[in-house]
């Protein structure tokens, strides 16, 4: 078990190197000179050369890469080309907002998914099962950016009940835990929650159905165990798989919120990324993607560790 954990933790190192390499190479994937965003086309040669040296673009690729990684490790992700502010500082402000939205969406999606999936798995082929499966299919099939628009039409335009954009009263960029702030979070959180809801429902349904068909459940029932005690056994067997799926889904929520954040002008990392793309702000783009990807890597590690702790079968394997 200990060797498994150590090996799993050490495996993060090559992955992290691969991720940094990929994110770094994005600059060179971009068409044109990376300097074109800061220098005018008719700038004198000396100025261009000076800036090239200042940004380190005159060094060999591998040197540029190592420098970039060394700086990133010390928390310096460079400066935004558009605003001149440090990327790390902008990220720090935005990531809190994104994590908050992801947590709210996860709370809604996972709860609904677990309930719907559990009911569907228990009452297979009943109308409840069909209803839950229909909701799950809609959840995984809906273009969530469109759902966001529809919710805005229904609740903001028609009913005037909930705010359509932003994170708080006009001009606010931070979450303040007031009632207005909560009302701002409802629509984006619900929009973001439909995909994990659908996926968790389908996973829980399949796993519950599979577990119920196992012989040990028959044995438990045969020896006269009451229904709720059998349920406890089923939950213990279903939990590891569902935890793994939920962990991954949480990562997707954080990394995939760009569309929803754009629809609702939610000042999170996705919104930042969107801005960076259209301003061709490469350091910002790299910084956001690097931080989100690293977060996802660590989350995967955490999921694997928790799953190992919960499920003894993996420990032995």
């Amino acid at each position: 078990m200990l060797t498994f954990l150590i090996r799993r933790i050490l495996y993060v190192v090559p992955i992290a190197i691969g991720v940094t390499f990929f994110v770094f190479s994005l600059v060179h994937l971009a068409p044109g000179d990376p300097l074109s965003a800061v220098v005018a086309g008719d700038a004198p040669r000396e100025v261009v050369d000076m800036l090239r040296a200042a940004y380190g673009f005159d060094q060999p690729m591998i040197v540029q890469y190592l420098r970039w990684v060394a700086r990133a490790l010390s928390g310096d992700l460079g400066r935004s080309l558009a605003t001149g502010r440090p990327v790390a500082a902008e990220m720090f402000a935005a990531i809190g907002n994104s994590v908050l939205l992801a947590f709210l969406a996860a709370a809604i999606g996972f709860t609904l998914g677990a309930i719907l999936g559990g009911i569907a798995g228990y009452a297979q082929s009943s109308w409840l099962d069909k209803l839950a499966s229909l909701i799950a299919i809609l959840g995984v099939s809906v273009p969530h950016y469109w759902l966001g628009m529809v919710l805005v039409i229904l609740f903001s335009v028609n009913m005037n009940a909930l705010p359509a954009i932003g994170i708080g009263p006009a001009g606010s960029a931070f979450w303040l835990w007031t009632r207005t702030d909560w009302s701002h979070a409802i629509l984006p959180a619900v929009t973001l929650s439909v995909i994990p809801m659908g996926i968790v429902t389908r996973t829980v349904r399949a796993t519950v159905a599979e577990t119920l068909a196992m012989e040990f459940v028959q044995a438990l029932k045969a020896k006269g165990l009451p229904g709720h005690a059998v349920l406890l056994h089923v939950v213990r067997n279903v939990a590891p798989v569902c935890l793994a799926v939920m962990g991954l889904q949480f990562g997707y929520l954080l990394g995939g919120s760009i569309l929803v954040e754009t629809v609702f002008s939610w000042p999170g990392t996705g919104f930042l990324l969107n801005d960076a793309i259209f301003r061709r702000d490469i350091p910002m783009l790299q910084g956001v993607i690097l931080v989100l990807a690293m977060f996802f890597v660590l989350l995967n590690l955490l999921v694997d560790i928790v799953q190992t702790l919960v499920d003894p079968r993996i420990r032995r394997g």
């Binding site: 991720v19 299919i137 099939s141 273009p143 628009m149 805005v152 997707y252 569309l259 996802f296």
Partner: protein, 311 residues
């Protein structure tokens, strides 16, 4: 794990009376009986047909805008009184967009790009990822390690983030969007192909074939490819719905298809300001994406149970 190979060979005395059917005949029969799957296939066929025949059946020019007619409402009844000319009422049954272009026409034309951009990346990834995965699974050893560890790096990115990172760096455009989505779908397809191939490779009949002197290529062709194709194909079909949503999502962000082309995600984007005045028209392209994506998902589920594939 593997697809069920054609298994009617053993006829027990009980079933000896009924003629045994081939695998694909069984799959076909199961599909015909599955009403939901057949309905989805029908709807998708209609959408595809409408998209292909758009130049013939669309009532207007998809690019012709007329500002005085902009943002006409959806539906015939709502259009009453909008014009003195009684024929004009029937002219735009789905309303018009922010530039006065006919919505029905643009939804029909939009299907061409939306379907193309949704299906192409999955097809590309099926070819590239399937090949890589089968090679990794069949050869094993250091080739497997090299391919699978590289794929692990791409697994460090949530799919939406990866698509946007590549698309955002390369810039807007149809080809760039297809390239980025292809990269997104290769890793999962490689993983599935590798695991399916590995499990088939270690089966007894492959050993038996090798022991009887069959060459590597023949084993690969006869015993491996035929058995791994089903599961890999089914898995790929389950990605089409995500691909369509993501492709339209890129256009929605301004990264995929560029104006004035008609594409459902892009239409949704340009119609966003209209949600306050003509919400039903603004939401229409998204509804088209939803219907297509639901049908692809249900079709994939139906195929999976008909082909009896477990991944």
């Amino acid at each position: 794990m593997a697809a069920q190979p054609p298994a009617p060979a053993i006829a027990t005395s009980a079933s000896a009376a009924t003629p045994t059917r081939g695998y694909w005949a069984t799959v076909g029969r199961r599909l015909m009986r599955d009403r939901v799957t057949m309905a989805c296939a029908l709807v998708l066929a209609l959408i595809l047909l409408a998209a292909l025949l758009a130049p013939l059946i669309a009532p207007h020019d998809p690019f012709l805008g007329r500002m005085p007619r902009r943002l006409r409402p959806f539906g015939i009844l709502n259009s009453l009184g909008m014009s003195d000319n009684p024929r004009a009422i029937l002219e735009h049954p789905f309303g018009t967009d922010e530039l006065g272009r006919d919505m029905l026409t643009r939804i029909l034309y939009g299907g061409r790009l939306s379907l193309f951009m949704g299906v192409t990346p999955v097809f590309n990834a099926l070819v590239i990822g399937g090949l890589l995965g089968i090679v990794a699974g069949f050869l094993g050893g250091w080739v497997n390690t090299l391919i699978m560890r590289t794929i692990d790096v791409f697994y460090a990115f949530p799919s939406v983030l990866l698509a946007i990172a590549i698309s955002g760096t390369l810039g807007a455009g149809i080809v760039n969007a297809i390239v980025s989505l292809t990269v997104v779908f290769i890793p999962p397809i490689v993983r599935v192909s590798e695991s399916v191939t590995t499990s088939v490779r270690t089966l007894d009949y492959v050993d038996a074939a090798r022991a009887s002197g069959l060459g590597t290529l023949s084993i690969l062709r006869v015993h491996v490819l035929r058995n791994v194709f089903g599961p890999i194909f089914i898995y790929a079909t389950s990605l089409i719905s995500v691909s369509i949503i993501l492709a339209s999502g890129l256009s929605f962000l301004g990264l995929g298809v560029e104006p004035p082309n008609a594409e459902w995600g892009l239409m949704l984007n340009t119609l966003r300001p209209a949600i306050y005045t003509r919400p039903e028209v603004a939401a229409l392209p998204g509804f088209a994406i939803l219907v297509t994506s639901v049908c692809f998902n249900l079709l994939s589920d139906g195929l999976r149970s008909a082909m009896d594939v477990r991944i």
